[in-house]
Subunit: 105 residues, 4 copies
């Protein structure tokens, strides 16, 4: 079995293992955007312009969530479902609860 | 006319002028949370735990938005509406567009 | 004072008075869409296609909300703010709470 | 193999097959709520009370979506992933796109 076919979660890796650099890059950019928001408030920027920028940061965080969720389904949930019916059910209950938090936040 | 009765937006202040310190404090905390997310990913934290924390940051950003919007309505929109019918309409169109972005983000 | 300059809320009308027909039309269309969802489920339509249609209905309801909110700000909130500082504050607290429910739903 | 262990999607059933009655019941209740909204607007109900009720209907629709999605993951996605790597990937791409629409609506 070549290393590329070993499911990452079987090696103790989280589902986002292969996209981790992209996710870290996104989060560093979001950190910069949050510092930018502080500067905007510090400089008395007009409310509506600050609000527009907060919406942009919220959307960037959603992209992180959707990316994490996709890789979680692709690796952790699928691997568990192949392992056993019960392991799959547990992962799906957990993923559904995470999706509900995401939809409501 | 005492200074306390001068509407802040008439002095060139944004609507959030009186709550600016609270908003900056929130944003510094959010910045720390975003750095915490980077650490979580760096340390291979389980996907669902990262997702839960991203939802917490998203909700914290929403609290910033709702706070900015409340003060914007309270000061900028109300002051404009008192000044003239037309100035009020312009501010309300603008606020409605910002609320739509917020609801959809 | 001509009738066109009497603010609608002063006549006991809700803020959406002038857009009521458009809102009723939207809601009748949404009612039809909800019946369409029942048919889709009755006919064993593929899950993802049902989900796409539920998202369309949710967006249609958001358009109703944003329309109601806009007219509420334009009439009820502005009229209250012109009447007195205190009446304006009460309406803005109430509108902010409604916006928060909308953002979180 | 007893009928209870045959995955429903293998029988050409959508993932929500086992929860279809509950979903239809929810949708009939939502249909009634949408008619209730029309009555509220017809009777000049105060804007904020209509908005509160629209938020309730939106949340009810989200419960439908989350239920459909859960059953879709549990049946269609898991069955495809067990069938082949490729079939699983296709279903996960599709589910992720549906989750993104749900989060953004």
């Amino acid at each position: 079995m070549s290393s590329s076919t070993i499911p990452s979660s079987a090696l103790g890796h989280p589902g986002y293992h292969d996209t981790r650099d992209a996710q870290l890059k996104r989060l560093r950019r979001i950190e910069g955007q949050v510092r930018g928001l502080q500067r905007m408030i510090d400089e008395d920027t007009y409310c509506i312009d600050v609000l527009t920028q907060v919406s942009a940061v919220t959307r960037a965080l959603q992209a992180v969530s959707l990316g994490l969720l996709e890789e979680h389904l692709r690796h952790c949930v699928v691997d568990a479902a192949r392992q056993s019916e019960e392991a799959g059910q547990i992962k799906i209950d957990e993923a559904t609860a995470a999706i509900a938090r995401l939809v409501r936040s």
